[in-house]
């Protein structure tokens, strides 16, 4: 009796899919128009209409073919037009259900439902998209077993019952302050790249325009003009950072309920992500070059199966004070970071860091100097990388604490890892040619679900220490 009839996702999905594919369709238009001269405008229009009709039909067909059903003990998703697939997720395996609303979906009151299972990352099931009420009903039903599925629970009592203990939230002022530190000129580059692309499509003569602009600029070039261009670039950079941060972090809120965290954030795309505590592998606290000096930190959790966040880790608190970070770490059952108890790596790290950062500078200016002698002056910059190398050893510390191995690294921006011993999968000791000459070794700690950069490696400890460290880490991991 618990079995319900198969359902389809909301028909609005077809519309969203079409709107989403519209840009790529539009890009085909200039090409069609280029042929238009030969084929006649009527035929082109006909072809375009036929194309849109075909797209609509296929979008509708795949919508029609996608069906989901909640049975007494499993959640079934059938999909595919030619290649049919049928996925069955046992209810006992469902860890939690995340809901995400992209801007278009929000307009139609729809939401994407992602069913998190305990397993890997690839085969997690998603429903794109159902109404928000249906999403909430599914979440309730999937999480609390099939009995609830029968009664159509309203949204209001459900969300009230759902709200756990508020752990961390960012009011608007905090989000805006965070945005100021997210100053980025990358977005300006992106805008120019976009212009470049559009340029290719429109066959716009940029070269000539830049030539004219260049002549104009050269004829009027003054210090004031240069400074105002710089000022405009800075303002744009700040504005871009602010807007991007506002769009992503608006209304950031992290709640904790037994065994799981829920994070809600986003202005246009509203996402609600569930992080299961048992899947947390390690914590990474980061401090920016400037914001870190002012006492701001960010906290990421690396989880089994990774994350869709930019860093590849779950962003638990992107811009927070020490005490707030510690509250989240405590809630996750992780030990706190003990900066004072850590010891630095070998002095040899200075040599390696100096070579790694200094050598490219030396080579670049030495080779450059062979052609342009004034570039020899650049060699005066060499003390900077060497100075950074000196600091690098002071800032690269590690320690085997009670329940976790802790590593910190970084001079300008700093990273602090808390890796519970249970999370260690394998340990490797690596020695490059230079490290062997210096009697050093790197102890690499491999964990599950790592993405992108920033691994908790302990670089350049003395070789005999590394030979003891690796087995000691594993002994604790298996204790």
């Amino acid at each position: 009796m618990n079995d319900e009839a198969p359902r389809r996702v909301h028909p609005g999905t077809v519309v969203i899919g079409l709107v989403k594919s519209a840009p790529s369709t539009l890009f085909a238009l200039p090409a069609m128009l280029a042929f238009g001269g030969e084929l006649g405008i009527g035929l082109v229009l006909l072809l375009t209409l036929a194309g849109v009709a075909a797209l609509t039909f296929f979008a509708w067909l795949s919508w029609w073919q996608l069906r989901y059903r909640l049975t007494a003990d499993a959640f079934l998703i059938e999909s595919g037009v030619l290649h049919r697939s049928r996925r069955s997720i046992p209810l006992e395996r469902v860890q939690d259900v995340s809901i995400e609303q992209k801007p278009l979906a929000r307009l139609l009151g729809l939401a994407l439902v992602r069913i998190e299972t305990g397993g890997g990352d690839k085969d997690e099931a998603t429903l794109d998209s159902v109404t928000l009420a249906e999403a909430r009903r599914l979440r309730l039903a999937l999480r609390r077993g099939p009995a609830v599925a029968a009664g159509e629970a309203g949204a209001a009592p459900e969300s009230a019952a759902d709200a756990g203990r508020a752990l961390f939230a960012m009011p608007l002022a905090r989000v805006l302050l965070y945005g100021l530190f997210n100053f980025s000129l990358v977005w300006l580059a992106a805008i120019f790249a976009l212009l470049q692309t559009v340029d290719d499509v429109l066959k716009f003569d940029w070269q000539a325009l830049i030539g004219i602009a260049g002549r104009e600029v050269r004829s009027h070039l003054t210090v004031t003009a240069g400074l105002s261009v710089l000022a405009v670039a800075l303002v744009l950079g700040v504005a871009a950072g602010l807007l991007r941060t506002l769009a992503r972090e608006y209304g950031f809120r992290l709640d904790a309920r037994e065994g799981r965290f829920r994070r809600v954030r986003g202005l246009l795309t509203r996402s609600e992500v569930v992080i299961v505590r048992a899947r947390v592998q390690l914590a990474l606290i980061r401090r920016g070059a400037i914001s870190g000096r002012l006492g701001w930190r960010s906290l990421d959790f690396q989880t089994l199966g990774g994350s869709d966040d930019r860093s590849g880790r779950q962003e638990m608190a992107p811009f927070a004070r020490e005490a707030e970070i510690e509250r989240v770490i405590d809630a996750a059952g992780l030990p706190r970071f003990e900066a004072d108890a850590l010891i630095p790596v070998s002095r040899g790290h200075i040599v390696r860091a100096a070579l790694r950062h200094g050598l490219p500078v030396v080579l670049a200016f030495a080779i450059g100097g062979a052609f342009l002698p004034w570039l020899w002056l650049g060699l005066a910059l060499v003390p900077i990388p060497v100075g950074v190398a000196l600091l690098q050893r002071r800032r690269h510390r590690y320690g085997l604490r009670d329940t976790s191995v802790q590593v910190t690294r970084g001079v300008l921006s700093q990273r602090e890892w808390i890796v519970p011993y249970d999370a260690i999968q394998t340990v490797s000791v690596r020695r490059s040619w230079l490290q062997r000459r210096l009697g050093l070794a790197t102890v690499a700690i491999d964990t599950a679900g790592a993405r992108g950069f920033h691994r908790p490696d302990i670089a350049d400890v003395a070789a005999p220490i590394a030979a003891e460290l690796a087995p000691a880490l594993l002994a604790r991991a298996l204790a």
Binding site: I424, S428, V429, S432, A448, A450, A477, L478
Partner: protein, 158 residues
């Protein structure tokens, strides 16, 4: 100079032949095109024999010099609770895989390896950079012995 974490065993001598054979195949892959280019474009090349000469040197390196060096730097030890695998000539890597972290195990044998009587043990872990830790160049019997020992351990732990 090697790290003394545990005493390591060398690989089977058969693996040396596997490495040589692979090196020879790569060397041929360089030499044949180089020779073809030298002959086909004989009139248009400014200096004769440079391309073929470089290819020959690289080939000698790949097929004759490098294999024994690489083979010598491989080593392994199975302690019952951990598998140690060391390899690398320029950058030396010593990886320790705790048996209880092994997700599943493969014993693989390619045609070359079968010809020289060696097998490859592959340990899959949940890790990221070391998802698969491969130990090549052991006898099939040893590989299966280690596999069965690990399977027994994982089985009893679960």
């Amino acid at each position: 100079m090697r790290l003394s974490i545990v005493p390591l065993q060398p690989l089977e001598p058969g693996q040396l032949n596997v490495l040589r054979a692979r090196g020879a195949v790569m060397a041929l892959g360089l030499l044949v095109p180089a020779a073809v280019v030298e002959i086909a474009l004989a009139d248009r090349l400014p200096v004769h024999g440079v391309l073929a000469g470089v290819a020959l040197l690289l080939g000698i390196w790949l097929a004759i010099v490098a294999p024994p060096r690489r083979w010598r730097h491989w080593g392994y030890a199975f302690t019952g609770s951990e598998l140690h695998v060391a390899h690398g000539w320029w950058t030396q890597v010593h990886t320790i895989v705790p048996v209880v972290r092994v997700q599943h195990i493969d014993v693989a044998q390619g045609p070359l390896e079968r010809g020289f009587g060696v097998a490859r043990l592959m340990l899959h872990t949940a890790g990221t950079d070391q998802t698969v830790v491969a130990l090549p160049g052991i006898t099939r019997a040893t590989a299966e012995e280690i596999r069965d020992a690990i399977r027994a351990r994982i089985g009893s732990a679960a």
